[in-house]
């Protein structure tokens, strides 16, 4: 039966995540935005809690549950609300608190999602409990991940990796880095594999930490791989170069992480709207849901417009997660959610900031004083994990039934 409210069974989880956001994240939000590259030690205790929740099969962080495509998976007809839905709901709350701190939660990295999705049983056991970052982007390629130049050459019981990786989220703090490298550049994307590289491996060097517009509490690292020897057992999944399947394995991860990034933007947008509603109330502006926007003050009308887009973004995100739980292919919906949420997060944050004026624009410690930070944080959510433009391409190709050769 059609029902779009937060399921009862997840209300406790949402409340808990909100508590974390409010009691742990918000009080240290401004501190780590200023002290970029200082490790937020306060999160270590929290991470232990989340590990427990992951064990219990509950929620977790950013995609750590991953996606296992063991079977085609059929819904048995009964509606499922599972870990995909609970995770997006949790992420929305945590990012209402602070996006960068959410990204900095130990052992909740994108690399963990990749491992969970593609690793074999032995690897799953070996890397259990370790924090893994993901290294795909290189200076010359972000969206065009098939164009990566980092190479992996087989040599006895090792692969030798050479290349350069940038924009690795949690690259500094994580224990492991999942590095995308190609076994043979002439064979295209089918030859691209991911390798788990332990910190401290000779030839694997962190060369830079980025200074960013936003999400400053999240460390963004650059690495150089110079004749870095990685055990062959660290190649995730199969070393076969299957031109048919090729890329699909690792790209599958993104079907499940796209709704999570969408959820981040939704949580952030709601934080902006909550504060702005408070500010408008204090300014004597009433927001009346019964009356048309044209009958209300410009500020109220503007608020309604933003809240409407926020609602659309939120429901699209829940839809994508719900479909994943019910084993329905959700690639299209995941992209729609990410596209809508990404752009709405930015629009809402910037507009709320405009309405708040100096109260939002000046650096503050809490509440509306964080609006300018949220506006800076929002921008990356429309860029990483598939830019707005890439999402539109994915959606358009799917609707128009076009290949990447036809619709560029």
């Amino acid at each position: 039966m059609i029902y779009l409210e937060t399921p009862k069974k997840f209300q406790a989880l949402v409340a808990q995540a909100h508590q974390v956001a409010q009691q742990v994240f918000r009080p240290i939000s401004r501190k780590y935005d200023r002290a970029e590259h200082t490790d937020p030690k306060e999160l270590d205790m929290l991470a232990a809690l989340l590990d427990g929740m992951n064990e219990a099969g509950g929620t977790g962080g950013a995609g750590a549950a991953g996606v296992r495509r063991d079977s085609q998976g059929q819904s048995d007809g009964a509606n499922r609300n599972g870990s995909n839905l609970s995770t997006v709901l949790g992420i929305m709350e945590l990012c209402w608190g602070d996006v960068a701190l959410t990204l900095s939660l130990p052992r909740q990295g994108l690399g963990n999602a990749a491992i969970a999705s593609v690793a074999n049983e032995e690897q799953l056991a070996r890397f259990k409990g370790r924090w893994a970052a993901m290294a795909i982007t290189e200076p010359h390629c972000g969206s065009d991940s098939a164009a990566i130049r980092t190479t992996a050459r087989r040599d006895g019981d090792h692969y030798i990796l050479n290349g350069e990786k940038i924009y690795v989220t949690a690259g500094h703090r994580a224990d492991l880095v999942v590095v995308w490298a190609t076994l043979d550049r002439s064979l295209g994307r089918a030859a691209i594999k991911s390798f788990v590289v332990e910190k401290g491996t000779p030839g694997f060097e962190e060369v830079r930490l980025e200074h960013k517009l936003g999400i400053r509490a999240s460390d963004t690292a650059a690495f150089v791989l110079k004749d870095c020897r990685v055990p062959k057992e660290n190649l995730l999944g199969s070393p076969e170069i299957n031109v048919e399947k090729g890329f699909a394995g690792v790209m599958q991860t993104f079907d499940n992480t796209r709704p999570l990034v969408a959820a981040m933007a939704v949580g952030l947008a709601r934080a902006c709207l909550d504060e702005t509603r408070r500010l408008l109330e204090r300014a004597g502006i009433e927001i009346d849901y019964r009356r048309a926007a044209a009958q209300q003050s410009a500020a109220a009308a503007e608020f309604l417009k933003m809240e409407a887009d926020y609602e659309a973004a939120r429901l699209l995100t829940l839809q994508a997660a719900w479909m994943a739980d019910n084993r329905r292919p959700n690639s299209l919906q995941a992209s729609m959610a990410k596209a809508k949420a990404g752009r709405t997060g930015v629009e809402v944050a910037l507009k709320c900031l405009e309405l708040a004026g100096a109260v939002g624009y000046a650096e503050g410690e809490e509440g509306a004083g964080l609006l300018e930070k949220w506006a800076r944080d929002a921008k990356i959510l429309d860029i990483f994990e598939g830019t707005q433009q890439i999402q539109l391409l994915i959606i358009a190709r799917r609707l128009l039934n076009k290949s990447s050769a036809e619709l560029k």
């Binding site: 039966m1 029902y3 659309a312 719900w322 609707l399 076009k402 560029k408």
Partner: protein
């Protein structure tokens, strides 16, 4: 199978059978020639009497009003329609895509829906959907979501014709939700009978920044009844409607809803063609010192009821917009794949492809927001916020979709050879109309 499913199946199958047995349907003439008014496509202040309606009388007495049961609690997030809903959706969708779409351009030009088409829609039993079984309808539960799904499906065929088909159901739904025992017994049997009347829910008034909570149509208490004075605008099926639900400001109490039979003295109609919704034969409803009995007041004039009415109507418009916006998307995709320019399909251009993607994204968001509001409404949860947000999306994003529809077809989108120009006109209504439909 449940009783609802049986009856719904009956209605659905009956509808499907019609498409095979059109000759029979063509012989049906449900409109008396005398009621066919001289409807002109141009406004000229030409005023005439409203339809000489039937006499409504109760054939049985009810002890108390019948209300649809509230939908039970759900535990889980779910986007799957029930089996009954899917059946109704399919029946409505077949009817819309096969019949409404084909008749739409003509009906738009003529400012009227073909009689046979309205007869077929009556066979679908739309006016009976919201009516409790005890009163001959097929509604067992409060079914705002079902009504949304059906409205969406019909509007995929054509919004103007969908409005023509659904307008009477607004009145039957209003009676089911808010009518007292006497009102239900008197009027509802007609809606579930063989020959349901045309009817309309008239809220809107003709002035800019119209606020349905600040009405100029007035109801004065006089003796043992009321006297209504005012003008309603953009009323669907105005000339043929036999029964209206009219919103009027009741003295100091606030806006309220009144049952007005078309044959009442002082009721007159003026043709009022508009930018869109033309197949629904919109008109102005003029009330010149219309005297009504006390029993004409619906829902005791309770503020909450009027609020629900306004919001459920807006929600109905969101549903119609979803259906027509989907029609736009379904139409432009094959078009841009076939149309070539500079040696390849125009769908290969990012500007075109991204516009298609944006239509899909915004439509999906609008639809989910509409469904959420409807799902809350039928469970008795507060839904004002959700309707306001869906309405906002409908008005902004829904209209943008209509505009994109024309743009993607270029010059071809501008002429009446293609339906997108009509959908542009119709989608503008969805964000500004009040009343006329209910879910």
């Amino acid at each position: 199978m449940t009783k609802l499913a049986d009856r719904a199946m009956g209605y659905g199958l009956r509808a499907l059978n019609h498409f095979a047995g059109l000759a029979l349907v063509d012989r049906l003439r449900l409109r008396k020639p005398a009621e066919r008014l001289l409807y002109r496509a141009a406004r000229g202040g030409f005023r005439s009497a409203a339809a000489a309606g039937r006499v409504f009388s109760a054939t049985r007495k009810l002890m108390q009003p019948e209300r649809p049961a509230r939908v039970g609690e759900s535990a889980l997030f779910d986007l799957t329609p029930t089996e009954e809903q899917q059946m109704l959706q399919e029946a409505a969708r077949s009817f819309a895509d096969e019949r409404l779409r084909a008749a739409a351009a003509q009906a738009d030009a003529a400012c009227a829906a073909p009689a046979e088409l309205l007869a077929q829609s009556r066979e679908l039993g739309l006016a009976a959907l919201g009516v409790p079984e005890a009163l001959g309808g097929t509604g067992s539960e409060r079914n705002a979501v079902t009504n949304v799904l059906v409205a969406e499906a019909l509007a995929h065929g054509d919004l103007g014709l969908a409005l023509a088909c659904l307008a009477p159901a607004a009145v039957s739904t209003a009676l089911s939700l808010w009518g007292d025992a006497e009102q239900q017994a008197k009027y509802l049997p007609a809606f579930t009978g063989e020959n349901p009347p045309a009817a309309a829910l008239a809220l809107m008034e003709a002035r800019p920044l119209f606020d349905p909570f600040a009405l100029e149509t007035r109801a004065r208490e006089r003796g043992d009844g009321y006297v209504l004075e005012g003008v309603k605008t953009l009323v669907p099926l105005a000339a043929s409607a036999e029964l209206f639900v009219v919103a009027a400001q009741l003295a100091e109490r606030g806006p309220a809803l009144f049952l007005v039979e078309s044959s009442t003295a002082g009721v007159s109609i003026e043709a009022e063609p508009a930018m869109g919704l033309r197949a629904a034969a919109t008109g102005r409803l003029r009330l010149d010192r219309v005297e009504l009995p006390r029993s004409a007041l619906l829902g005791s004039g309770e503020a909450r009821i009027y609020e629900d009415c306004v919001q459920l109507a807006r929600l109905g418009w969101c549903a119609l917009a979803c259906g027509t916006a989907q029609a736009v998307l379904d139409y432009v995709i094959p078009y841009v794949n076939e149309r070539e320019a500079f040696g390849e399909p125009i769908s290969h251009r990012q500007s075109v492809a991204f516009t298609v993607a944006d239509i899909a994204i915004e439509l999906e968001g609008l639809r989910l927001a509409t469904w959420r509001a409807a799902s809350r409404a039928e469970r008795g949860l507060p839904f004002a916020r959700e309707v306001a947000l869906a309405r906002r999306l409908c008005s902004d994003r829904g209209m943008a979709i209509g505009s994109h529809g024309v743009q993607l077809l270029g010059g071809h989108g501008y002429v009446k050879e293609h339906p997108v120009e009509r959908w542009y006109r119709d989608l503008r209504a969805a964000g500004l109309m009040e009343g006329a439909v209910l879910v």
